[in-house]
Symmetry: C2
Subunit: 194 residues, 2 copies
Amino acid sequence: MTIPKQTNRRKELVTIAAGLFKQESFDRTTVRMLATATGIKSGSLFHHFKDKEEILVAVIEGGLETSIEVINKQTKNIKLADQRLFAAIYGHLMTLHGENKDAHIVSIIEWKSLSTLSKSHLIQLRDEYEGIWQGIIEQALDAKLLEGEAHLLRLFVLGSLNWTIQWFKPEQGLDTEQLAHNFYHSLTHQFITK
Amino acid sequence: MTIPKQTNRRKELVTIAAGLFKQESFDRTTVRMLATATGIKSGSLFHHFKDKEEILVAVIEGGLETSIEVINKQTKNIKLADQRLFAAIYGHLMTLHGENKDAHIVSIIEWKSLSTLSKSHLIQLRDEYEGIWQGIIEQALDAKLLEGEAHLLRLFVLGSLNWTIQWFKPEQGLDTEQLAHNFYHSLTHQFITK
DNA sequence: TTACAAACCAAGCAAGCGCTAGGTAATAAA
DNA sequence: TTTATTACCTAGCGCTTGCTTGGTTTGTAA
């Protein structure tokens, strides 16, 4: 029988799965690889999850929830439009390149691997995250930091940031905060005032 | 035996494969699906390609070559920095959302599915394409259209544009040219002068 | 010490995968 | 009309995949 949810063991498995899904992709990660990495036999995985997809759902769910927490925390006590925008950019990049990045990355690149049913459930979390961004962008538009249409801008901005998964390695010279500053500058044509 | 290259039949197969790879992803496209879609039996595929990966390589190679052709053609007789930048943006979006888009899309999202060997060959084409973009961005920086560092800007811009694969559908109100204009505006904070 | 659920193992099944071998049909040049 | 080449089919092999079943160990609380 599948366990309700959220046991400690289950969380451990999800964390390890996130790492493998990110490294190898969901399709190329076999249940045997997951089992070896977690130190159990492949059949025992199905005591915790009813099937392989449920593992992916758990990973993505965790990734999205963390992202929402981070952006809320980052922008919570900030009022000024420019600082809010920068905080959101930096927060987003942190969830992609800081610690525990795997789950958020997987939630972005493996979205297509989800079944229609799982998507319809997780889409709420994604909408919530995008809604927060939408507000920040609109505020930045009002403050004349940005130009264009809010909805498209959000897609352009998040696209750019998400794409950093493909090329950015924090070890190589530039760190995540510097990257955030560079992006903010190229986006707004201004420097952030501290 | 595998045929040297570039027979007509092979081209047909590559085009059909591009469509499936885009729709289903490389991993989830089986040789049997490819065979059915092309109207032959699965074994016959290996008369044209030595293995499944060679099909992917052919698709990506074609996609990259077309992209290079398009951007060269688009920016060929244009001198002004703003118009060159817009032409590159529009050209890139055309290869992603216009006709024969599949191959270019696959070349972007299935890069990770390539073997190290195949990558080392195709990387030349990718470098060539990115080099062209680099020049256009530098020229735009000189003309004060953009702000920031050229290398990072190229990654930000192409990231945004590539990300449109995930959400842009030309049928839904906005067409590709309008999208290009919107992006140009949000990026440069200016409108293009015709 | 018993009781019971949670966590795991051993063994393997059915299905699907990429790919091969050996033969046949179509096309066209000699 | 022969010969060669290209294109395809038939049949299936060997392997890996996700997942199941039935039994065993471990932890915990009464």
